[in-house]
Amino acid sequence: MTNIANPLLGGLLIGASATLLLLSHGRIAGISGIIAGAFREPLAGRAFRLWFLAGLIGTGVVLGLVRPDAVGAPDLALAGVGVAGLLVGFGTRLANGCTSGHGVCGNARLSPRSLVATLTFIATGAATVLVVRLAGGAA
């Protein structure tokens, strides 16, 4: 039986984080947008993004030191990882959101666009996993 407590609790934390960002800065916790905006806006407007990303990445630094088993690595050659990164970077900006922006925040407010986005990326994600598996796994 899969442990569902940790996923649920982790999800609650994610929802709490998004609530906090909305309360403090009035912003949507959509990570792809936060990353993109971190490069774009004038510094005064983007400081919160830089701090948020610092918290996100910084926690990764700590986890890497004290709980390395909590963070896993993908099972794919680096060239494939690079291609995946390009697709995710490009695709999330085209769609104006990702799993946090559309998947969590958009669906929480019953946005039809976000529902469509979510179903679409889950569908192509699942199709990709299937194709990779049928092709004998990525080298």
């Binding site: 899969t2 442990n3 996923p7 982790g10 999800g11 609650l12 994610i14 929802g15 709490a16 998004a18 609530t19 909305l22 309360l23 403090s24 800065h25 009035g26 912003r27 916790a29 990570i31 990353i35 993109a36 919160f48 993004r49 948020f52 918290g55 990445i57 910084g58 926690t59 990764g60 986890l63 690595a73 993908p74 099972d75 990882v81 690079g82 990164g85 995710v88 970077g89 490009f90 695709g91 999330t92 900006r93 769609a95 104006n96 959101g97 990702c98 799993t99 946090s100 998947g103 925040c105 929480a108 666009r113 986005a117 679409t120 990326f121 569908a123 192509t124 996993v129 990779v132 598996r133």
Partner: protein
């Protein structure tokens, strides 16, 4: 204070990702492996996150303004379903399914020092910039026209 709270939000987000197991690409790909060894964890993460944010958002939006800003910044409104939305989501999903990383977890992994995450995040940033190219070209062209028109 403003900065600390923003950083705290980032910390909580990362902790949520780690606790939920979403920093394990295997768990993400396991969820997408509908026809194989299905791992439903991600569904429960979504339920928890959406549930918590749906409630939290409702409470927060009773306020006139956020704590450190004068206005709330709602998501950009757009026509309901656009090619951009669907094509972009489809493309994102392929990348996600290949590697089991989406932006948030990849940054946590980046912090933890995973070489694959360095490659992924670097490529993600490049992809982000590539998406902007048409808009940048268009803006430069419009400015050139404005200058030419005097």
């Amino acid at each position: 204070m403003n900065a600390i709270v923003a950083a705290l939000a980032g910390i909580l987000f990362a902790l949520g990702l780690a606790l939920s197991g979403m920093t394990q690409p295997k768990a993400v790909i396991g969820f997408l492996d509908f026809f194989g060894d299905w791992n439903p964890s991600l569904a429960f993460v979504m339920v928890g996150a959406i549930g918590a944010y749906a409630l939290g958002r409702r409470l927060v939006l009773r306020r006139a303004a956020p704590l450190f800003d004068t206005v709330f910044h709602p998501p950009a409104s757009a026509p309901i379903f656009t090619t951009r939305l669907i094509a972009g989501s489809a493309i994102f999903g392929i990348g996600w399914g290949l590697v089991g990383y989406c932006p948030g977890p990849s940054l946590v992994a980046f912090g933890s020092g995973a070489p694959a995450a360095f490659v992924f995040v670097g490529a993600l940033v490049v992809g982000t910039f590539i998406e902007r190219v048409p808009a940048i070209i268009e803006r430069r062209a419009a400015r050139a026209v404005a200058v030419a028109d005097g």
